[in-house]
């Protein structure tokens, strides 16, 4: 979620990064540490693609990044990376996958997960409300509902949130990563009944 109305970024999202065409991640923690790891992840994914001429399987990328994070907890006398990630991606072996990792380098595969501020509250909400076999629209609605209940701010507007999806494009069958535009976000929030009603003029 954006920092506030004075914040201006040249990128499409503040806390979401595309690592490869089939892989994306969301970040929680120290952004400067995250930038280093994202760069490493992108290079690793491309080097794999160069050697094997196919996209890197999601778990392999997550594991390599977590191996790097773990190294900083055991060797060198350097401090660990203060970043937790949520990785979302698709590969031909296991389809769509979600992984969560923390600064220790520990990672796990999840059906639904949350990182960052108020993540325990979010995680317990997800535990209650997540059901298998949800459609893309249902998943988006659930994510917005959980965020609205766990975020500290009183009202939820499009400029306070970011939404990105990794999905199969219906026409071409390709996996795509797309960040939700502010207009589309406004419509989604209205449909979910989460926006404040406009004040009477």
């Amino acid at each position: 979620s954006p920092e506030g109305r004075l914040y201006q970024s040249s990128r499409s999202a503040e806390k979401m990064y595309k690592i490869d065409s089939h892989l994306a991640c969301a970040v929680a923690g120290i952004m400067s540490d995250a930038n280093i790891l994202i760069n490493t992840a992108r290079l690793h994914a491309q080097r794999y693609a160069l050697s094997y001429q196919e996209p890197i399987p999601v778990e392999q990328l997550v594991q390599s990044l977590c191996d790097t994070k773990q190294g900083y907890t055991q060797f060198g006398g350097l401090r660990p990376f203060g970043v937790s990630f949520l990785f979302a991606g698709w590969d031909k072996n296991h389809g769509f996958q979600l992984y969560m990792s923390d600064p220790s380098g520990n990672y796990g595969g999840w059906k639904a997960a949350a990182v960052g501020a108020n993540s325990q509250a979010a995680q317990s909400m997800l535990k209650q409300d997540y059901k298998d076999g949800m459609t893309r629209e249902e998943a988006v609605a659930l994510a917005l509902k959980v965020l609205s209940k766990t975020m500290d701010s009183t009202s939820l507007t499009a400029d306070k949130l970011e939404l990105a999806e990794v999905f199969v494009q219906p026409g071409t069958g390709e996996v795509q990563y797309q960040v939700c535009s502010p207009d589309a976000m406004g419509k989604l929030l209205a449909k979910a009944g989460l926006t404040q009603p406009a004040p009477e003029a």
Binding site: S12, D20, Q46, R47
Partner: protein, 191 residues
Amino acid sequence: MVGKNCFAIASDRRLGVQLQTVATDFQRVFKIHGKLYIGLSGLATDAQTLYQRLAFKHKLYQLREERDMKPETFASLVSALLYEKRFGPYFCQPIIAGLGEKDQPFICTMDCIGAKELAKDFVVSGTASESLYGACESMYKPDMEPEELFETISQALLSSVDRDCLSGWGGYVLIVTPTEVQERVLKGRMD
């Protein structure tokens, strides 16, 4: 070859080892992004490896900048990559063709160590390059529409490769306009 708000890039389809023909469907023109293509003539393995390395670099550029590379920038990238191997080069002559800012066509070629040559009309490379220069020079006119450009480039390609024993076995032509990309396979003298 450059046309009116469009460009065409073409190649033959033969892969051979001196006198033996090994493949008749060899791909020499590669896509970098929707409006940028690179043709690589010369040693086949170097053409494939060079393309894979360039795709790697362009992918990282796209991820960081969140946009496609401009053709002029890409040409500089290719030139730098080739010069890095100045004393053990890739045996390839690239042809770069793309639509740049405001969909202006851009073409250029370079030698195997990265000497860029920009042109406004056409660029050629490969074993039949001398014939190609002659054919293009006589057949080219500026500001051709896509259909006429296709005819011109096809005729220039087929007539030139017919004079070269190492080129031929059909042709592959790609016409790129701001709105669409047309691919066509040509049937010439299959020898």
